[in-house]
């Protein structure tokens, strides 16, 4: 709005009305939406700076400024926030890297090779993906329970086990997205490399992967964000507070103590959101183009 000020003064009333009808009202809509979109985030940020606050004290926005809640957050033996944070990063990055690798391998095969069962395989992946893993949560729990009886390292209450479950969903939407992108890379590049004597593994790792890196970044980010927010399977599989993720830990924290430690929760929420939000804003351009590419297929 500010920048329209000088124009407005130089304009007569009539041309202001014209400006308003064509452009100005859009800024009003924009302001309303900005308030709607940003308010909960401003609110939680303000609550996190309000030491020892409950829900009711959080209502005075920025009435009190201190970092005490952030300090308290790391000094709660019952709620090991630091461990949750590290667990979430470990699980998120490992699962996301694994998903990208498995997905890219499959997408390369579907895009570059012609083999019997290829079309069936593609359709199969799309079909299987229609049934989200989430629906089978009971079966996943029981499977990991019985694996855990024999191999505790990868069964119930194991982060490796959880990552393996996430990798079960690595193919599917990701592969489909990457498959489309692989198809846009001309096959003549592969052929030229093959004539130069490069083997298929070398072509894949050193030539194709760098060329498709934009889509790899998008898929990595999307699956990272999805893993960071994943609650159901993580809450079912991870039992010890020390092993849990942010989603599981923070939910239990808030559900057990309701409004008692709102500011400590808010501090946790701010810290938990930093990485995805920063990544998202930094890679915004790619994500938007990825989404748009998806929309105008």
């Amino acid at each position: 709005m500010g920048e329209s000020q000088p124009q407005r003064t130089s304009m007569s009333g009539r041309s202001f009305r014209r400006w308003f009808v064509q452009i100005g009202w859009r800024h009003l809509v924009g302001l309303a939406v900005v308030v709607f979109a940003a308010f909960p985030l401003v609110y939680v940020f303000s609550a996190s700076l309000n030491p020892g606050g409950t829900l009711i004290t959080a209502n005075t926005l920025f009435g009190n400024l201190s970092l005490q809640s952030y300090v308290d957050l790391f000094n709660r033996p019952q709620q090991p926030f630091a461990a949750w944070y590290l667990n979430t990063l470990f699980i998120g990055f490992t699962a996301s890297a694994g998903s990208v690798l498995l997905g890219a391998l499959a997408a390369y095969a579907f895009s570059r090779m012609r083999f019997t069962g290829r079309r069936l395989g593609l359709i199969g992946i799309v079909l299987v993906q229609m049934f989200p893993q989430l629906l089978a949560m009971v079966a996943i729990f029981l499977l990991m329970l019985s694996i855990g009886e024999i191999f505790p390292a990868i069964g119930l209450n194991s982060q490796i086990g959880l990552i393996m479950v996430y990798l079960g969903g690595a193919l599917g939407v990701n592969t489909y997205l990457m498959y489309g992108f692989f198809n846009t890379i001309p096959t003549s590049i592969d052929e030229a490399a093959r004539i130069d004597g490069a083997g298929h593994a070398r072509i894949f790792f050193t030539i194709i992967l760098p060329l498709v890196s934009p889509i790899l970044a998008v898929v990595a980010l999307l699956s990272l964000v999805a893993t960071l927010s994943e609650f159901v399977i993580a809450s079912v599989l991870l039992r010890d507070p020390e092993k849990q993720t942010l989603a599981v830990g923070l939910y239990q924290f808030i559900s057990q103590e309701t409004s008692q430690n709102w500011s400590v929760f808010a501090a946790g929420a701010v810290l938990a959101a930093i990485i995805p939000v920063v990544l998202f804003l930094a890679l915004q351009r790619y994500i938007v183009s990825g989404l748009v590419a998806g929309s105008v297929k």
């Binding site: 709607f36 799309v126 629906l135 079966a139 995805p276 105008v296």
Partner: protein, 535 residues
Amino acid sequence: MLTSTTTRADARALDGRRARRTAETASLGWKLLLLKITVLGLLNAASVYAAMVLFFNERWLIGTLVVVTGALITWIYFQRGALPAKYLAPGVTFLLIFQVFVILYSGYVAFTNYGTGHNSTKEHAIHAIMLQTQDRVPDSPTYPLTVVERSGELAFAVTAQEGEVLVGSADAPLEAIDGALVEEGRIVDVPGHTVLSFTELMERQQELSTLAVPLDEDPNAGALRTQDGQRAYVYTSRFVYDESSDTMTNTESGETYTDGGEGAFVTESGEQLMPGWRVNVGLDNFVRAITEESIRGPLLYVTAWTFAFAFLSVASTFVLGLFLAIVFNDPRMRSRRYYRLVMILPYAFPGFLSALVWAGMMNQEFGFINSVLFGGAAIPWLSDPWLAKLSILIVNLWLGFPYMFLVCTGALQSIPEELTEAAQMDGARPFQAFRQIKFPLLLVSIAPLLISSFAFNFNNFNLVYMLTGGGPRDIEAGINVGSTDILISMVYKVAFVGAQSDYGLASAFSILIFFIVGTISVIAFRRTRALEELN
């Protein structure tokens, strides 16, 4: 002359480059081979180890599967052909285990009574019943006891009347062991076990007081228990199991319990003895879901609300997103970039946190919305059945409109501006031009995303569970369910929340959802013909 020299120099340079490249390729190939051998070696070692452990535990089928899978993968990577298989094998392996198999396994569990009180085999159930109802046998002998440990599990070492040393744990009845060292009537060393010190005993007091070591394979023989970790006494159960008639008899009341065929011992009057065990119950869970009034009612309204929620979510976010996309699609408008940056924030903020933050803001007594925006009103945002539904839709609108805004902006920009101009030349008003020309084109490219957004919201567990917990709770329902629960959160609550877990019923619900989702997907894909694009 000059030209031929350059050519020769060129050729030499080319040769050199080619040689270098060949060497490079060769060295990379060598490294890859080493990597391949290492990885496959580790994989094979792991699968052989796993198979041995599985065979040791008498899991023959799964052990065999592990061996076959290991061999198959080795074969795939150690032969020249089968290139596609080399690229597909890793992803497909995980897909088969953690997506395809678990779906089939859900189907199996749906036909059992698996859940609280029906967790294990009949043998385990008999043991558990007898353990829970033990009394000390009057005038029974006292055993001098040493508590030992083997891989984290506590065990008893006792000296029998004849002086031999017996060792046993909760799962393994007492058995004589050779080579134990006894000093002054106390056992001080047992091969393969560590003797617990006094402090360790104190630390594990809780565990120790519940430990019962069976005297014999026969559960009626009784078990050893201890209070102080120094002496063990014989305890026997009030119940006697008769193998020939397959009945449990309470020796005090004289009542007889028989195997009713439904996974538990029952008296003639229908009184059940818990815990029971796992049996196949056929279509029971499905029949219960459809015929039992206290389950069918909630199931029906939860299904209806799931559809309404998914539809309204897509509709509301799409309308707002499209509206904003149109508003901001005017190149004459300044600072569009900054508006967009702020608008994307709800999309970037982790979803589970958004729901928790909104739950705080919507708190009836202390939340920001009631206390500040409505000046202290007590609007039951999350505890009134209808307001809770509205709250969920509002929060979902907040969460979902940025995505719709982004994709609509993208789609709008890909539609050539000339179309609108041409329509306006022909006398169409701007809105008319948009509705008749741009909107249909936009819908074509957005439709698949609307469908996938519908599918996403159909299972939008986090929002519902974190915001309202599915509540307010329906007290009349026979299962743990509330008026904002969607199908997926209902499955979760039936299986994992509260004291009673009913895995069988939860899986039956899962299977019903599979059918619903499958039907919708097939129809949707027919409509959009997405499958035909694959080539």
